[in-house]
Amino acid sequence: MIKFKRLLPVILIAFYASTASYAALTYEMKTIGKHANEVLGVFVNEADTQVATCSLDETIKIWGIPNGKEICTLKGHLGQVNNLSYSGNDKLLASASSDMTVRVWDVDKCAQNMILKGHTDQVIGVYFSQDDNSSFIASTSFDKTVKLWDRVLGTEIKTLRGHTKPTNNVAYSYDGTQIASCSDDKTIKIWSTDLETKAPLMTLHGHESPVLTVLYSFDSKYLISSDQTGNIKIWLVSDGSLIRTIKAHDELIQDVSIAADNKTIISGSLDKKVKLWDLTTGQNLYSQTIDSEIWSVDMVSDASILVLGCADGTVRFLTRKGGK
């Protein structure tokens, strides 16, 4: 008891410190527009000037940042559009659809540029290589494969096999050397982007339910993953070691994203909550409950605007009060 009394001030200070930054962050929510059905993916471009959203309504919409004005609607897919990725130079957009195709869109023209066919089941994940030429696109599918496409040739150049159940999402490392894929088989596999190596470089075990998304930090040092039971895991890219598990949500987390500080991550869940986390400590920085399930999240580089793709079809901006 004496010991506890002595420790009490320390505990109170620690508690205050842990909640101070949480309390400091406040965001104002605004619905900027709506799809005809659930919004499954959002992706903010490199310049923080646009966000693309994709939906169960089979369309993609591009919206301006920060005004939230709709720039255009891209039509062409014959099934729900599951995910999106801007190219590193922001000129192209790749989309993954349940119609088994990956499509490439010219952002300035708001027009379809290319259809990539080859997967034998729904395509769930897509990620552009972030090099200046936007040379490659990686995609994942319920056909259990990861495919690498040559964007210039318009053809698939490498099929990576190893997952034993449908693959859910894919990410390209920002240094261009690796691809990470995650699967219903509860693993994450790391693949080389060189054309000769087809076996996985590493398989990461640790999730106890289907892994729904993976994402590299911008400095390619960390890999972030989320799963069906609401956990986020942080992995060290260099050796694949698990450095942190965060019990983040009460329902599945379909999407996470990271800010340019390589530290702040955002998660959105079907538990209707959006949260910000400090990757280095696991501390919850911000939490907001909304009136819809959240499928997809992203944010501008400094986390001053958070973008939510919701099950009710709305696209919402959460803008930080007090600016930067």
């Binding site: 119609d99 034998t120 099929t159 729904l212 379909q254």
Partner: protein
């Protein structure tokens, strides 16, 4: 002697220039795997490759022991080839493969699925051509159904039963109506595309697919549910 040398010199120039001509188009290889459409197991089958005038240009075999791997080379950039795959245990399939333009040797990747031809085989449509609770084919259904349309065209001696399951178990009468209307819409589609309607029988259902029932919990992306559709080999 001088004339002989001149002739040899000319012949050398001609042969060199024609050789250079053949080099204008670079050689491309196509690799990938062939799997059983139903159970996704790798299979060993013969593959024949035809050019755009129907001339056989290559043949090879996939290897089930090596994850269904095959390798075809000697294809030229910018051309379109037809891969025809025939096997006693599978429905005959033809796949068009467009080779991209390239000025250097490239290996491209293509996987193929073959549907077993044994009576009773249930070929589930990977992409549903209907929207939830609808019985009219959705926009773009022709593209979605092009794979099974090709299969039916390539196997004109075979008959199929179209089996449709409902999206939920809420109303048995309504389920019967909607699944019958979906099956009829599919027969209409095949007839419009030149297939004799007698190729098909139809089966509606009042209850959802026992092998792929509607979800009872929240599902992740891409896992939303529309009642299954099968082409069953008769």
């Amino acid at each position: 002697m001088k004339i002989c040398r001149l002739i040899i010199f000319l012949l050398l120039i001609i042969s060199t220039s024609s050789f250079a001509g053949t080099q204008l188009k670079s050689v491309i290889a196509v690799t990938g795997s062939i799997f059983n459409y139903v159970d996704k197991s790798p299979i060993s089958v013969e593959i024949e490759v035809y050019d755009n005038v129907g001339k056989k240009v290559n043949s090879t075999k996939s290897n089930a022991a090596d994850n269904g791997y095959y390798y075809v080379t000697g294809l030229y950039s910018g051309n379109i080839y037809t891969f025809i795959i025939k096997d006693q245990q599978y429905l005959t399939e033809s796949f068009e493969v467009s080779i991209p333009n390239s000025d250097k040797y490239v290996e491209i990747s293509k996987d193929f699925l073959l549907k077993p031809n044994k009576a009773g085989t249930e070929i589930k449509l990977n992409i549903n051509p209907f929207e939830y609770d609808k019985f009219k084919l959705k926009v773009g259904a022709a593209t979605i159904l092009s794979d099974v349309l090709n299969t039916v065209k390539n196997n004109s001696n075979k008959k199929f039963n179209i089996v449709c399951y409902p999206d939920s178990d809420q109303d048995a009468n309504e389920n019967h109506k909607i699944t019958e209307a979906r099956a009829k819409a599919l027969v209409d589609f095949f007839e419009l595309n030149g297939i004799d309607g007698t190729t098909f029988t139809i089966q509606s259902n009042q209850k959802s697919d026992p092998k792929n029932p509607p979800p009872t919990e929240k599902r992740a992306k891409g896992k939303n549910y529309v009642g299954s559709i099968y082409l069953v080999v008769n």
